[in-house]
């Protein structure tokens, strides 16, 4: 498993553009999302800890981060705040194993687009991710017109 992770990071190093960073401490979840995104031709990097995830985000500045709310040592909400500080144009999609709401727990200025409850439907995941990526692509193609 660790060999695979390094492989991905090497592959990530090779790519110049990353669409999604997945931060989840569960290897199975990381693996399945990786498989899904590669089939949909979405470039993806993943991390098993918040700390690692923040490093990836600051390096690749992806338009989307998928963050597990419950991470081992570092809370997913905390991780999301750090990510946002690093990269202001990023969007965040939370995933959670608890049936919980994050209202009131998340700073309102955080660009959270939604919460995915485990177990999730891969169709819905793809749809949400693609919509974010399309928006990002649009805004990237159209230069900022105001100043």
């Amino acid at each position: 498993m660790s060999g695979k992770r390094e492989d991905v990071i090497i592959r990530g190093d090779l790519v110049d553009k990353v669409d999604v960073v997945v931060i989840d401490d569960d290897a199975g979840v990381r693996w399945v999302l990786q498989e899904l995104f590669s089939m949909a031709d979405i470039s993806c990097m993943h991390a098993e800890s918040g700390h690692e995830g923040i490093q990836l985000v600051s390096k690749y500045r992806p338009p989307l981060a998928i963050v597990d709310i419950k991470l081992g040592a570092m809370n997913g909400l905390e991780v999301a705040r750090c990510i946002y500080r690093e990269c202001k144009q990023i969007k965040i999609l939370f995933i959670t194993g608890y049936s919980e709401t994050i209202e009131g727990k998340v700073d309102e200025d955080l660009p959270v687009i939604g919460i995915l409850e485990k177990p999730f439907n891969i169709g819905e995941v793809l749809q949400q991710v693609k919509s974010v990526l399309n928006q990002a692509k649009g805004s990237a193609e159209r230069p900022v017109a105001f100043g």
Partner: protein, 664 residues
């Protein structure tokens, strides 16, 4: 049979003889000579001269037979023609005083000589020379003097007799008091009886041989005679008493109120009654003759007032004490040396009532069918003075189940002797139910917490598995499909592992199998396994177990082994770079201490706070159940888990378990 002079008159006559220095004779009422005092002629000659003796005996018989009060103090001539005076000592005796007028009157002496001669006394004796010479007036005044002394003496003696009777009365009162004191003795503890006696009874004292009787206020209730022969009186007394009791029903009249009632008996006694304060009861004294009923009654009333005061004081104390001992939450039973109940409070009565047992003062717990160990404990306490502290008992069955905490303690007197036993019982049925409910609630809360963790843990593999199934349809590549299936199998296995750990945590608290066990032995059982794992992880494992045997602890051996394994494995995992783990066992007070001391990286403070919470983990792939499970196992065994950690120096996990001491 000859009547003897009673000793008190003998003393009187002897002192008389000492004063008078003259010869006199005490004669019985039948005319017999009782004694001769200051023996001088002629009375001293009687034994030697039968004729003379016969003459004098005749003379004395004559006096006794024909004595008239007019004779008292008058001069008469005796058989020798000498002057004599007769005095009567009531029915006791007659005194005959004798003497001679002159030794110089020759005619008088010649007549005397011829009379002596005719009665067989030789004239050579000149016995008149030994006689007491008195004038007629001297003799008369001496006689008068004796009569005064005698009357005075009689009056004194009468008074003494009366005093004696009063003493007798007081003795009777004392006896009643003793009876009351006896009634007040905690061993009898019958306040009703005391009050019955003191307040509600008529006490009748008789001066006849100190007989006394009492009758209860309820005229028909009791009529008893305690001493003497007053049965004949009782009928009359009862009638009189009923009349008196009817007349003094006013409860607030002053303390003493005398009234006199004649009792129509042949003995012509008089009854005085008095009313006692705040009680429509009377005291009565029947008196006859010289007894001063009033003074006896006053003395008696005084005694009773004291007794009454003591009784009311006692009642007051009793009420206060009653309030006290009924206000405590414990059931309290006090017994005497025979195991008979002296005191039982309401709580004890209600505890016993649940078991269908009714006990009261005077009865015994022994063979009451209450609870054998308590009965035996009381017997042992009474016998040896030992104590039973904080004992537990479960009484009864089904709907009568009571959980009792009990103590039996000896009562030790000032002299250090055992004087009784005290049983304290606390019904802790509700407490037990409450704590059971709290435990259930805690378990539910823990289960809720665990279930929330479980949901998250299960949903990770579930998410992966579900996604894998969905991907299976999308991918066409067979090798990819095989990978997905393999992944699916792995995730399902993970779910199973999580559920197994979860069940271990929750089931262990509900399925307690407690037995005495030796933690040292468990560690020895685990040693081989732990050494193998330590070798793989390049860890030095040190066992520090004492050679001396340590007391056992109470617990589930399989669960405790699991705890030891969990903690040791945590240490191994923490020391990924190798290190040393020391496992030690020692006694600390009444607890055993098992320590797992590693020199790994230590645990950060923020993690320490959550370390035993279910599903809290910092390990990749960990369930977060290990320490939570261990902690809950140890809690059920009455032990605890302490974790001390210093960053970069290592972690010490300390298990404390209470020693299991078998009851001595």
């Amino acid at each position: 049979m000859q009547r003897m002079i009673t000793p008190k008159w003998q003393v009187f006559l002897e002192s008389l003889a000492g004063i008078l220095k003259m010869s006199f004779v005490a004669v019985s009422p039948a005319g017999e000579i009782q004694a001769v005092y200051n023996p001088k002629p002629p009375f001293s000659l009687l034994a030697g001269y039968p004729l003379l003796e016969r003459a004098y005996r005749g003379f004395f018989k004559e006096i006794a037979a024909h004595y008239k009060p007019e004779l008292e103090g008058r001069l008469i001539a005796d058989p020798l023609g000498l002057p004599a005076v007769v005095l009567s000592l009531r029915e006791e005796a007659y005194l005959v005083l004798g003497g001679c007028f002159t030794q110089r009157d020759h005619a008088y002496l010649a007549a005397l000589q011829s009379r002596l001669q005719s009665l067989g006394v030789s004239q050579d004796n000149r016995i008149w020379l030994q006689m007491t010479f008195l004038s007629a007036s001297d003799l008369s005044s001496t006689a008068e003097h004796i009569r005064v002394i005698y009357r005075h003496l009689c009056r004194t003696l009468d008074e003494t007799t009366e005093l004696g009777q009063q003493m007798l009365l007081l003795a009777a009162v004392e006896e009643i008091n003793k009876l009351m004191v006896e009634s007040l003795n905690p061993a009898k503890f019958n306040l009703e009886r005391i009050l019955d006696l003191v307040v509600s009874s008529l006490v009748i004292l008789s001066d006849v041989a100190g007989a006394w009787a009492f009758v209860c206020q309820d005229p028909g209730k009791t009529l008893g005679c305690y001493r003497g022969q007053c049965t004949d009186l009782l009928g009359h007394l009862q009638e009189a008493w009923e009349a008196v009791a009817a007349g003094c029903a006013d409860p607030v009249r002053p303390f003493l109120s005398f009234c006199k009632t004649k009792i129509p008996t042949g003995l012509s006694v008089e009854m005085e009654t008095l009313q006692l304060k705040e009680a429509s009861a009377c005291l009565g004294v029947i008196a006859g003759g010289s007894l001063s009923a009033g003074s006896a009654l006053t003395a008696f009333a005084r005694q009773l007032a004291i007794a009454l005061e003591v009784a009311s004081l006692y009642e007051f104390a009793q009420q206060r004490f009653g309030m006290l001992y009924n206000s405590i939450a414990h059931g309290l039973i006090v017994t005497n040396m025979r195991g008979e109940i002296l005191l039982i409070n309401d709580q004890a009565i209600s505890i016993l009532a649940v078991q269908g047992i009714s006990l009261s003062i005077g009865s015994s717990l022994r063979n009451s069918g209450f609870y054998r160990p308590i009965e035996r404990a009381i017997d042992n306490v009474l016998e040896s003075g030992c104590s039973y502290i904080h004992q537990r008992a479960i009484l009864g069955r089904n709907d009568r189940v009571q959980h009792i905490r009990w103590d039996v303690l000896p009562f030790i007197s000032d002299q250090g002797a055992i004087s009784g036993a005290m049983l304290l019982m606390e019904d802790i049925t509700e407490q037990i139910a409450f704590f059971q409910a709290v435990r259930d609630w805690e378990r539910l809360a823990a289960a809720g917490e665990v279930a929330a963790g479980l949901a998250h843990e299960i949903r990770n593999p579930l998410a992966t598995a579900k996604a894998a199934i969905q991907l299976y349809d999308i991918v066409g590549d067979q090798s990819k499909q095989a990978e997905l299936l393999h992944r699916l199998d792995t995730e399902l296995e993970r779910m199973n592992e999580i559920l197994t750990s979860f069940l271990e945590t929750t089931m262990s608290t509900g399925n307690e199998r407690m037995e005495p066990l030796y933690p040292g032995n468990l560690l020895c059982d685990l040693e081989a396994l732990l050494r193998e794992e330590a070798n793989i992880n390049e860890i030095e494992l040190v066992f520090d177990l004492p050679e001396d045997p340590l007391p056992p602890v109470l617990g589930d051996p399989a669960a405790l082994k699991q705890v030891f394994l969990n903690i040791a494995r945590n240490a191994f995992e923490a020391m990924a770079e190798g290190g040393r783990l020391i496992i030690s066992l020692a006694r600390s007070g009444n607890r055993l201490q098992i320590m797992f001391c590693d020199n790994g990286p230590g645990i950060p403070e923020e993690i320490m706070l959550n370390i035993t919470r279910p599903f809290f983990t910092t390990k990749l792939g960990g369930t977060g159940l290990g320490l939570s499970f261990s902690s809950s196992i140890l809690n059920t065994m009455g032990g605890e888990l302490q974790i001390e950690s210093l960053p970069r120096e290592g972690t010490t996990v300390k298990i404390m378990l209470p020693c299991y001491e078998r009851e001595a």
